[in-house]
Symmetry: C2
Subunit: 250 residues, 2 copies
């Protein structure tokens, strides 16, 4: 089971539009320094699942038939706007698994096209071949699910966007400590935000869940710069994600 981080930025991305700091100026010219909308690709059992769909090049990168489904964490535009293009496709359908959000985003529900939306229930597993997926409720400004993916005793948790976590989700993760935990870390330590983790929140969760590796994603501008200025600051087993990072569980 492999996960590739397609994007590791927050909604603003890196570089930040209009920012003339040295980091943004450099990132404007160097793809490896950029952070695009938070998204990943899970490859398992000869299937490919998109985790969120906010990337701008989905139609080009994933030709029709190359995706077996999409798991949506929540319906903010930076997590779903790539669906606006895919939906008008022809001669195929794409399962889109989502939290129970009655609103969706813009007119996606009204005009789904090839998208087959399937609302999941919290903690209610679904099975796709030998892959078992458990939706874990998170704490954000829209109904939001993280997902625990299990395949042949290997486990990957994808947990964004969130501020901390409900006790019930935390208990599930403590019982099923993942090999890899990819998690929202939008903000620098000590910063105050009600809908996204800062690094303190992540360290707290990491200590309780005890995953093999913890990978930071949804990294905001200031957090990105903090990481560059403090290259040795992350505790053992915690790493900053980057766009196109590939991680193999087991």
């Amino acid at each position: 089971m492999q996960i590739t981080l397609l994007g590791t930025g927050n909604a603003a991305g890196m570089p930040l539009y209009g920012c003339d700091c040295n980091y943004c100026v450099q990132a404007s010219a160097v793809r490896s320094l950029q952070r695009t909308p938070c998204s990943a690709l899970l490859e398992v059992d000869n299937k490919r699942y998109l985790l969120d769909a906010g990337q701008m090049n989905l139609a080009e990168r994933f030709p029709a038939g190359s995706l077996d489904g999409t798991f949506i964490t929540h319906f903010h535009p930076d997590h779903v706007q790539g669906l606006f293009h895919l939906r008008w496709g022809k001669s195929l359908s794409l399962p889109v698994y989502t939290p129970p959000d009655t609103q969706g985003c813009a007119d996606l529900y009204k005009h789904p096209g090839i998208l087959v939306f399937q609302q999941l229930r919290k903690f209610s597993e679904i099975t796709l071949g030998q892959l078992i997926v458990t939706p874990l409720p998170l704490i954000h400004s829209k109904p939001t699910f993280g997902y625990l993916f299990e395949f042949k005793e290997r486990k990957i948790a994808y947990l964004t966007d969130t501020k901390g976590m409900p006790d019930t989700s935390l208990e599930q993760l403590m019982l099923n400590s993942p090999d890899i935990m990819v998690i929202d870390c939008s903000f620098v330590p000590h910063s105050d935000n009600q809908t996204h983790n800062n690094l303190d929140d992540v360290i707290d969760l990491q200590k309780q869940v005890k995953p093999g590796k913890t990978i930071l994603t949804h990294i905001g501008h200031d957090m990105d710069i903090w990481l560059k200025k403090n290259p040795d600051a992350l505790p053992e087993y915690i790493m900053a994600g980057h766009d196109e990072m590939e991680l193999v569980a087991g």
Copy 2:
């Protein structure tokens, strides 16, 4: 006064995702055969205005400070989704002129960031330097404005998305026959649709408005193929637009 068509496709675009017709297969590999979300750039009086914001590369193509404003025809995702990125910019503001749509798209109104939305009133001119802009109500499934741009007796009309036109808008255009009329032509002749023009509708409007040139945009998959199969079918003074087409009024 110059207008550059940034995109000339409908929401589905060309190639159509999942379509294996010869035209789509060719378009997958050749940029000049592709049609991206319908949008244009108006350059006049040393200013640059975006006409709709559905393109995916706005932040890269238009660095901060290079745009003086955006005119939105309506709030369907393929016409506004580029704003989702620009809004989180820093140290600048971007005027966004719109029709009076109370809904907008997704959470753009709730979280405008650097976007300064300004709802216009039908037929109520606004003046930007020596540029005079008249919002013309169109007939679509959302509140929609076309725009008549006038600069030193040169006139460009940008009219999409629409099925026909209210008499009041038509009268304005007949009184102010534009040098260039860029207009929605989504469908082939005789086709039936209530929210977009087919070629018959465009020819009918062209005969009444009598613009110098009529340029087709928002071209759908079947219309695109029809144009390729019938290269001499368009009446005099009517031309199919293409992405990156540049047109000068006067």
